[in-house]
Symmetry: C2
Subunit: 674 residues, 2 copies
Amino acid sequence: MDETLKRRVLIEGVKPEIDCGRFPVKRVVGETVTVEADLFADGHDALSAVLLHRPEGEGDWAETPMEPLGNDRWRASFAVDRLGGFRYTVEGWIDRFGSWTRDLAKKVEAGQDVAVDLRIGAGLLRDAAGRAGRSDARVLRGLAAALEDDADPERRIALARDPETTALAGRWVDRSAATRYSRELAVVVDRERARFSTWYEMFPRSAAGGSKAGPARHGSFADVEARLDYVAGMGFDVLYLPPIHPIGRTHRKGRNNARKAARDDVGSPWAIGAAEGGHTAIHPDLGTLEDFRHLVEVARAKGIEIALDVAFQAAPDHPWVAQHPEWFRRRPDGTIQYAENPPKKYEDIVPFDFETESWRELWQALEDVFEFWIDQGVTIFRVDNPHTKPLRFWVWALGRLKQRHPETIFLSEAFTRPKVMYRLAKLGFTQSYNYFPWRNGKHELTEYFTELTRTEVAEYFRPNLWPNTPDILTEALQIGGRAAFVQRFVLAATLGASYGIYGPAFELMESTPRERGGEEYLDSEKYQLRSWDLERADSLRELIGRVNRIRRENPALQSDRDLVFHGVDNDQLLAYSKTARDPRGEVENAVLVVVNLDPHHRQSGSTALDLGALGIDPEGMDDRPFQVHDLLTDARYLWQGPRNYVELDPASVPAHVFRIRRRARTEEDFDYFL
Amino acid sequence: MDETLKRRVLIEGVKPEIDCGRFPVKRVVGETVTVEADLFADGHDALSAVLLHRPEGEGDWAETPMEPLGNDRWRASFAVDRLGGFRYTVEGWIDRFGSWTRDLAKKVEAGQDVAVDLRIGAGLLRDAAGRAGRSDARVLRGLAAALEDDADPERRIALARDPETTALAGRWVDRSAATRYSRELAVVVDRERARFSTWYEMFPRSAAGGSKAGPARHGSFADVEARLDYVAGMGFDVLYLPPIHPIGRTHRKGRNNARKAARDDVGSPWAIGAAEGGHTAIHPDLGTLEDFRHLVEVARAKGIEIALDVAFQAAPDHPWVAQHPEWFRRRPDGTIQYAENPPKKYEDIVPFDFETESWRELWQALEDVFEFWIDQGVTIFRVDNPHTKPLRFWVWALGRLKQRHPETIFLSEAFTRPKVMYRLAKLGFTQSYNYFPWRNGKHELTEYFTELTRTEVAEYFRPNLWPNTPDILTEALQIGGRAAFVQRFVLAATLGASYGIYGPAFELMESTPRERGGEEYLDSEKYQLRSWDLERADSLRELIGRVNRIRRENPALQSDRDLVFHGVDNDQLLAYSKTARDPRGEVENAVLVVVNLDPHHRQSGSTALDLGALGIDPEGMDDRPFQVHDLLTDARYLWQGPRNYVELDPASVPAHVFRIRRRARTEEDFDYFL
């Protein structure tokens, strides 16, 4: 029989806890972690509990007292104030002195004789004195003596119940039989951009400008630098470049994914590696490594981080194919095994054999690719198809990289099955692509974003919303015209604290697919240079800039935590809000978005607002009007109660982005009133 | 870098799993455990998975193949065919040959040349041959050669896709990189009575008979034997006796819980211990240990098990108080610390100090109490107030007892806070009292029993439903008259596979409380002898017997797994069903209960039946009438579809207990039809 059997407090139901503590929850610097747990013991004794927390690697726990919420549930919070990791757990114990004062009060109230009880209390105080420092011990012994000896019973009772007595006894409570929760749980703390980021993807080789007839020449990092003001002017803070490495020539794809490339075809940037080098080399037409570092610096000065694409696959002429044949599979006919997803073949790409006998060397070489680019100043990576590499490789590689470089952000490009997608987030990816591109209807948007933001998923999965990518020109964008672009853009930028667009295709509303029923772009930049008329009058550039400014000015839109959907009695109108709260939990900033999901027809309806969620009327008692200010059009409306009329015309602006003003001024706010 | 990094299959979301595998799930002999898990890997490879299971303590796992359910969910079942414990876990691996045949099929369908693919397949078969036994190896090598060499490509493809080839390759699949789920999960397997039991509680000291004026004398075990036919005749299979030990004289309580006992007052049986002995002694007026053993034997012959009450507390004159003063707390005035829940005092009872320095000896002595009575043939214990003893004591004691005596059943008497109640079940109690006595309305009954039977709770918590106990005369019974007794009885006996009544108070509809607003009986048997007129004409005895016969004849009522609530458009009518299914999942037996919850008024309404849940119309295609046979009244009705009229009068029988006849005979069943 073991001494731990004597620990009477039991702890269970700790939240947040992902998969029995196997995976950390995610936060950014400055956020808090609110922890709840069930704590209980046999019998009727009072309990005390603390939340223990410390930065990863530090020895001493900090303690925050937990508050009982009723039904044996307890809660406390702690702030994560630095990058890296934190740990937390819960400890609880029987509070003998607390039990005693509680029972004393009941007996006094029932008029019972408490003389013996006061002597019991004195004994508890003397026990505490035995554990206390010298001066507290003296005070505790004095209190104990007074509890037993003081002539006036009223005074003895008052002394026993004095909060200072309780506090002192609590300071020297006996925690030798305290129960510590069986697991230490982890938090990964990223920087703020992990939560709130605004991405722009562009092909640097198409940055050279040109005419509608075609590009002038292959773009370079210098051309990208020239494009930075355009990108910053729209309010983006991450500029993501598809792979910038030499492109394979063997089995190179032609325009529109033709099986054979023409002489001057540039090939797909994802067919990485050629005679000039592989994953740590730069395509000669883009510039030099020095040019790249210059771009990174200039961009940073304009508030933009350069994000690189990491695609762990090779063109057949990647130098590694000759240097490390053991990292690739061969077919029985001696040829190298190209990528395939039968019956589709990708002969311009060969996958690494992650299960090769030399897997240790391969894995290390791939980790080194990240290290190389981190050395060049890159802090954000978009990882191509992580779900086709062993998930344990990512656990290993991301774990090591985040330990050395906690500021690094990894965006997972996996449109795979839901459980694989979530597992990638759990195991270490900072942000994740997701199914937003294919969620168009009111019901499916509501259901999906409720799952992402109101369930445990929110603890580890940070969605990054892309209305388009070079691979995804959705049917909605193909057929919905300008209104569809605006709708999908407003949804992405306001449903998601992080979102991105692939431009200039997006702001110029490129909408022609290569083939009907497909999602590939016609004349896709994946296979050819393009030139874009950025000054086109119908560009969405200005709207994008306005929305990104709204995002910067409204903290509510910088987090996904407080997303709430509101009713509207029209299935084509979607209404939702986000809020930012002060440390006391009061709403400081509230944004209500209403989107007309129908790109063709004017839609109107009546809202059924959750006024509590908006911070207007948490008690359900306030029927004063409030002002809603449309930040897109600068129009202001006076609303009252949950039901208010909305009407949106896709021909003008198919969305409201309202900032809620808590209540409108009335005569009571006028100086002379009263 | 560790070899386990190479394991590409990941396993999560295993169900059932209670608190990260900390607690077992519960089954009875002959039941199955259906296990589900998420299994996935990177990429597109096909997976295989097995459920591993074995009796506790045996070395070798049995394997059952898991079936994919879609969305990476897999399922398999195993039967638990013996008392004690089982373990289970999940293992999965990449199925290379399966992936290959799947891809081959796609390529063949797309008309691609598969010559090289067939050579790859041949290589996989040769790999399998390397792992195979001699004769299988020969066959596999022959197949490999045929895949490469056979002149006819069609035949080679057919050979590759032959199920026998797949089966043979599967038999010798490479599982060296298989992933085993990180935890082994446990099942506690009880005997059937743990799931399906019918309890009758009575005070043996009131079994002597007598007149209305008062009891003839103190009852004895012989009187209980004489009462057995009465109990068996009503269909009970567990006879539960309150404590049968000597009763303390110090601070003995009088009739109706009077603080001072009169000279001839018998005291509360829960004030255990006196000069005659303690927890292993028998009250001299009840008989001898031999008499008790005789009672156990005679009862068993009539299909009744005797259940004893184990109350770990002592009267102040319990022999242990003198023999082991260190097992009790003293107050500063030298008196022993009596039980209290301030401001209430229970001076006839002293609690054990489970935290005494001598806790090891105390705990052992308490475990020995169980062993003593198990030696006398007792296999069922009702444990009094387990929540006022350290929960870890129960983990320790029940764990050891169940290991030695897996047939033993422990009923937890804890009407404490929900989480403590559930924890007691998790840690080892076989059955549990619960909040049924205070769930009266349609909404609260539906909600509570949905929680008990349709959530994870059902895996470890087996409710035992008591409409009354010696401590609980509910308000519903006090004010509802005979109808309330019948309603609460039918609810208990059909909502719960296990239920019990405290009689003869129940069947004789004793309904007068000691005081208004309380739940104590007037002239409670807890403090005095009573005599009961068992032959009273208005006794519920016959109804009880009928319902218990229905329970025995309808397997649907012998389990809580398949409880489903059905709609009725009247809030005073509650409708629910239970079903029993054959191994293929087809409904074999279905019982539909409709109860009028209003004890005063006739209520009628229209059902909204879930015909699928009743096994009548799982596909929603069958509109033929079906027969419902009221087993209480023997009336039969023809119903059709989900909507059917019901009307129940509390003045006659306030409930239907229908057995569903799958469909009524029509002309198509008549010989001459067709």
